[in-house]
Amino acid sequence: MEKWSRFNIASVVLGFGFLYLPIVLLVIFSFNESKLVTVWAGFSTKWYSQLWHNQGLLDAAWVTIRVGLLSATCATVLGTLAALALVRYSRFRGRVLFSGMVYAPLVMPEVITGLSLLLLFVAIGFDRGFWTITLAHITFTMCFVAVVVQSRLLSFDQSIEEAALDLGATPVRTFFAITLPVIAPAVFSGWVLAFTLSLDDLVISSFTTGPGATTLPMKIYSQVRLGVTPEINAICTILIGIVALGVVVASIVTKRREVQRERDERAAIAAIG
């Protein structure tokens, strides 16, 4: 094994500095006393306390959280089914189209997805608002869930499923007793990913929204256009905190489940041996 050369260390450190510095600066200036976000004038948490009195912002946050919870949950179910269909059924009619529809939304420019969904809702006469945003979010986030779950299914030892089937379990029972517990960490991280994507989305929400449904990114965007303020830095810091906490918890849970599973597997092998 060659050593980690100075060049490699430098590129990783510089790269991570580039990735994190803007976020760190944003967080620091959310605690700035002054209204200017570029000149430090002392520590203060006043911008955070002001947020609590901004009713429009709190309403938007509540809409965003409800959309996120609902769409992430539905997207996880649909995305997991899509991943199963892609991995377990190597041939069925229209499979090429299906896999195309799963991968295309990952790279599709958001303006196109947003416009096309809006025109669908208008064409079928669906009232725009909370539900249309939720349906739109389910559609684009389910594909991300599908990819995450699919990669776990591909590295899955199918012989345990076959064993369960040989022992007389129905496919449905096998799925819930064997497959789901094994892929659960991936399904969980798929849910977290779908939730954060929904929390973040500006473009698709703006196209598919209607009167009375304003999400937090839409609110932030309209304020950002008016200029940079420490109040926006404060909201952003809270959102970054929530997401970072979510990701850290998700990775700890995943890690723990993996360790547990490996221990179980070793115990099972030892018992057989």
Partner: protein, 303 residues
């Protein structure tokens, strides 16, 4: 009975997500196509009706006869749209190359890191991707402004004495795209490099290759699938990017995502914005299909 329900269950596994994507992903594109062929009206919705099934087959045929390509003609006549497409492609290509040049050394350094810290590094690359896109773009405004942090810093260390104008120029867009999409480039390259068999490099060096030659002859070709996937993951969404040119770019920056947005939201011209979307889709269909093939191939290799 149990067998029947199992067969039904396995059907549903395919049918439910399939039907969902057909209805919410594929069919909407046909609606966009249809509306791009209709006339603008001052009504709500602001286009002539899509289909009126009450008229029966004859009614539908009448509608088809009413299809007009006026919106497309309009797009070709107005140089604004053509320039916006071209400049989007140019900006996306330059940004993709810059992202590759910055992302490759990072991915390479990560793949060479001691195995014990690799999962942490991986997690640190993924983390910014989970933080809001809008927030990350917003963070750059305070840095790039004329009186912003970057200029303050450069003036303080004496590199410049007049603030650089970066915000609201194309340079700001490049910075924004490279910054926002960097994890998309690093991750596939890292996973390609990490899987690589290190003994190949040793073999090349034993046979007399210099380290740099060994890199270009062995390492780089083996990481190519990751490079291709990373470039596509950056290029395709960047062409239609809206938030970055809107917040960091200037008024003279033309990008098609922004054009579509303002056509739709400010001018309320739905048929023209549909035509803009259809042409954008036609431009992107080749890279998108290529991306799907790369993905499908990666899946069948993982099997």
């Amino acid at each position: 009975m149990a067998k029947l329900s199992s067969a039904l269950a396995s059907r549903l596994v395919i049918i439910v997500p399939y039907a969902w994507l057909l209805f919410f992903f594929l069919i909407p594109f046909f609606i966009v196509l249809r509306i791009s062929l209709s006339q603008t009206t001052v009504a709500m919705p602001p286009y002539t009706p899509v289909f009126d099934l009450a008229g029966g087959l004859a009614g539908i045929l009448d509608k088809v006869r009413e299809f007009s390509v006026d919106n497309y003609v309009w797009l070709t006549e107005d140089a604004l749209y053509f320039n916006a497409y071209v400049s989007s492609l140019v900006i996306a290509s330059i940004s993709t190359i810059l992202t590759l040049l910055i992302g490759y050394p990072i991915a390479y350094g990560m793949a060479k890191a001691p195995p014990a810290i690799r999962p942490t590094l991986l997690m640190m690359v993924i983390l910014p991707f989970w933080t809001s896109f809008l927030i990350r773009v917003y963070a750059w405004i305070a840095i790039l402004k004329p009186e912003g942090l970057l200029n303050q810093f450069l003036i303080a260390i004496g590199v410049i004495d007049q603030p650089l104008i970066i915000l609201n120029t194309n340079s700001a867009i490049y910075i924004g795209i490279v910054y926002s999409y960097l994890p998309f480039m690093v991750l596939p390259i890292y996973s390609a490099l990490e899987k690589m068999d290190h003994s190949l490099i040793e073999a090349a060096q034993d046979l007399g290759c210099t380290p740099i030659r060994a890199f270009w002859r062995v390492t780089f070709p083996l990481s190519l699938p990751g490079v291709v996937a990373g470039c596509l993951l950056v290029f395709i969404p960047a062409v239609g990017e809206f938030v970055i040119p809107d917040l960091l770019g200037g008024s003279e920056t033309l990008m098609i995502g922004k054009t579509l947005w303002s056509e739709f939201n400010s001018n309320r011209d739905w048929p023209v914005s549909s035509a803009v979307a259809i042409i954008l889709l036609m431009i992107l269909v080749v890279p998108i299909v290529y991306f799907q093939n790369v993905q499908a191939k990666a899946d069948s290799e993982g099997r």
